[in-house]
């Protein structure tokens, strides 16, 4: 029997029991719909991370004091090495390094007029806007002079400016107080949005790192050094930085680093890994629903084989071979699962769209997801349809014809 005829017979058989067919397909619809939605969400998250990394500049390198990857019991203060502004200056001489910004951070209550706000105060260097390609909206960033003199000037993040002065107000020249100390606002940064970690990058105030060290913290060290490499090939630069710092920190060969050099690529990789783990988890859920859908198909096919025992007997008597019967029921199961799969794909698209629109979750449906969902549906149909089909094919025609 030709495959086309088999297909027609299968469609006819499924059409005969519409409600049952629909209910059976529901399992596949939900399963495939879940697969599509999960893939869309997972891919969407990954794409967002990649875009953020690209926007932040892939050539960024961060040096942090302390080494979290160092195991065992940590020694007292004497053991941990601190980064100093001189270390940052020394890195300017490392080949491949383009910009360097010594960075130290604190939190503080900010008061402007009758408004106040608690925010992050980042002491940094003049290179920071260059490293993060972050322009100012109003006014200008502080200068080398400000850094050298540790002047009390502040560049506000757009969220801080908006909170203190209202939207679209230019607060340049206004005085604010950070931790009760007066600072002059000299600029407002352009809005940058969320970072890859979900932090609001605009909820921040920039001042010279010297100002934070001397006026706000009263300490001699900095928290981290942000470096940008001249090329996108950051790994050799990161290694050169580590080598330079080992010399400066007087670490003996063989001893572990007392600092961490992280590239954005590494951080992105960690976050992508997290997204992938999430994706795997979601795929497992989708897989379970496909499994349930498949079992539903198997169940109905078994019922169908029993119900149609006499039909099978008759078909065999008039010349259907075992494989003809096998194919007939297998095609029926595959048609069930493929139809369910098709509706499921549409359903998944709808769900992804809804997630994007109502939950603001980024979604991306990769081109091969449809083919994949289709493949999964077909495979489920074949896998779960095979047992009932084989049961039908192995019936004895005499017994089948006698079946009441």
């Amino acid at each position: 029997m030709s495959i086309l005829m088999t297909l027609r017979i299968a469609l006819k058989a499924l059409n005969r029991n519409k409600l049952r067919t629909m209910l059976t397909m529901l399992g596949m619809i939900i399963g495939v719909g879940a697969v599509i939605t999960m893939v869309a969400l997972g891919k969407g998250a990954q794409t967002t991370i990649e875009e953020q990394v690209k926007a932040a500049g892939t050539n960024m390198i961060t040096v942090m004091s302390g080494n979290f990857s160092q195991g065992g019991v940590r020694m007292g203060q004497g053991q941990s090495t601190r980064l100093r502004p001189e270390d940052a200056e020394a890195l300017r001489a490392v080949p491949g390094v383009q910009y360097v910004a010594a960075t130290t951070e604190t939190r503080g209550q900010v008061i402007a007029g009758n408004q106040n706000w608690s925010t992050r105060v980042e002491g940094t260097d003049v290179d920071m806007p260059l490293i993060r390609s972050w322009p100012t909206r109003f006014g200008a960033f502080f200068t080398q002079q400000d850094v050298r003199a540790a002047t009390k000037v502040a560049v506000l993040g757009s969220v801080v400016a908006e909170t203190l002065y209202g939207p679209d107000e230019d607060p340049t020249g206004q005085m604010i107080r950070i931790r009760s100390q007066p600072f002059r606002v000299i600029g407002v940064m352009a809005s940058k949005g969320q970072s890859g970690t979900g932090q609001d990058q605009d909820d921040i105030i920039f001042t010279p790192y010297t100002t934070v060290m001397k006026k706000l913290q009263g300490q001699q060290h900095i928290n981290r050094i942000v470096v940008s490499a001249a090329t996108a090939d950051v790994q050799p630069v990161a290694e050169a930085i580590a080598a330079e710092l080992r010399i400066r920190q007087q670490i003996y060969p063989g001893d572990p680093d007392t600092f961490m050099v992280r590239t954005l690529e590494e951080m992105a990789a960690v976050r992508s890994e997290t997204a992938r783990t999430m994706g795997t988890l979601l795929a497992a859920i989708a897989g379970v629903s496909l499994l349930v859908g498949g079992i539903g198909i198997m169940n109905i096919m078994l019922v169908s084989v029993t119900e149609r025992t006499r039909e099978i007997g008759l078909r065999m008597a008039i010349g259907a071979r075992g494989k003809d019967v096998l194919l007939q029921f297998l095609v029926e199961a595959v048609v069930l699962s493929l139809f369910g799969g098709m509706i499921g794909i549409a359903f998944g698209f709808g769900l992804a769209e809804a997630a994007e629109r109502f939950l603001q979750w980024p979604t991306t449906i990769p081109a091969n997801a449809i083919a994949m969902a289709f493949g999964f549906a077909a495979a489920t149909g074949v896998f779960f349809g095979f047992y009932p089909a084989r049961k039908a094919a192995s019936l004895d025609p005499i017994e089948a014809l006698r079946f009441e």
Binding site: R16, R308, A317, G319, A320, R321, G322, D324, P397, I398
Partner: protein
């Protein structure tokens, strides 16, 4: 050269602990154009013989040559092909597919014929011819539940004929029919046999039905008890003419359903 040769056919079943010897050595030859009625009480082995002759089952020992092929040792798939090409089945319970038109039911065996790559139009033509030969060409679009029992059995006969088989195997074809319809069906068998020379094997336990054949083979305890030509053959056509005309119901409009006592098995599958 007989069209069907059976030599020392033995079939033994094992049911639980005991052994059922359904056939204990049957020998039989059937020539082309014969109309053989096989009778016997239930349990005599005639059903088992029918299954083997119909290639639905294989004998435990012995030989069965159909149309020059020894089919007694063929594989299941080979038997399926033989059933498709050389054997036409007519069952007691008609076994028509429900919600499938008479024409599509008749066409069904052609779908399993892999060697003759027939186009849809070709299949339709063959099926229509078969329906015409049983006088039901005007019912081609009817579904089984719109046909009377006799008409359903005629559709089943058309289905058996559509592959132009070597033998027509009818297993209690009148078991579910009343007297008049039974004679009508026998009339079809007789004219197919006489006019087209189709070899017919009719299994029945009704002796009067057996007398429509040319030869009666009587089974008892798994063996052939008697095998003799019919002396006074009944002629279905004459009997029909002698019968009072049936209270013929007007031709059914399509879509109407026949309300008739349901046949055993429901008649359809």
């Amino acid at each position: 050269m007989p069209i069907l040769q059976v030599r020392d056919l033995v079939k033994t079943y094992h049911v639980g602990d005991h052994t059922v010897r359904a056939l204990r050595g049957a020998d039989m030859d059937v020539n082309a154009g014969e109309f053989v009625a096989i009778t016997g009480p239930s349990g005599s082995g005639k059903s088992t013989l029918m299954h083997i002759l119909g290639c639905l089952d294989r004998p435990t020992s012995g030989q069965y040559v159909l149309d020059g092929n020894d089919v007694s040792r063929m594989s299941k798939d080979e038997l399926a092909v033989i059933r498709n090409r050389k054997i036409g089945f007519v069952f007691q319970g008609f076994n028509l597919l429900s919600r499938t038109s008479a024409l599509d039911n008749v066409e069904l065996p052609l779908l399993y014929n892999n060697t003759q790559k027939m186009k849809t139009a070709g299949r339709h033509k063959r099926a229509m011819e078969a329906l015409e030969s049983v006088g039901l060409s005007d019912r081609a679009d009817h579904f089984p539940n719109q046909l009377s029992g006799g008409q359903q059995q005629r559709v089943a006969i058309a289905r058996a004929l559509v592959t132009q088989p070597t033998i027509l195997l009818a297993d209690e074809p009148t078991g579910n029919l009343d007297t008049r319809t039974s004679i009508e069906v026998m009339d079809i068998f007789q004219s197919l046999n006489k006019e087209r020379g189709i070899t017919i094997l009719l299994i029945t336990h009704e002796t009067d039905i057996a007398e429509y054949g040319t030869r009666i083979v009587r089974f008892r305890d798994g063996k052939i008890q008697t095998d003799s030509p019919v002396v006074r053959r009944r002629d279905a056509k004459k009997e029909l003419a002698a019968l009072p005309p049936p209270e013929e119901d007007p031709p059914l409009p399509p879509g109407a359903e026949v309300t008739e006592a349901p046949v055993e098995h429901g008649g359809v599958v």
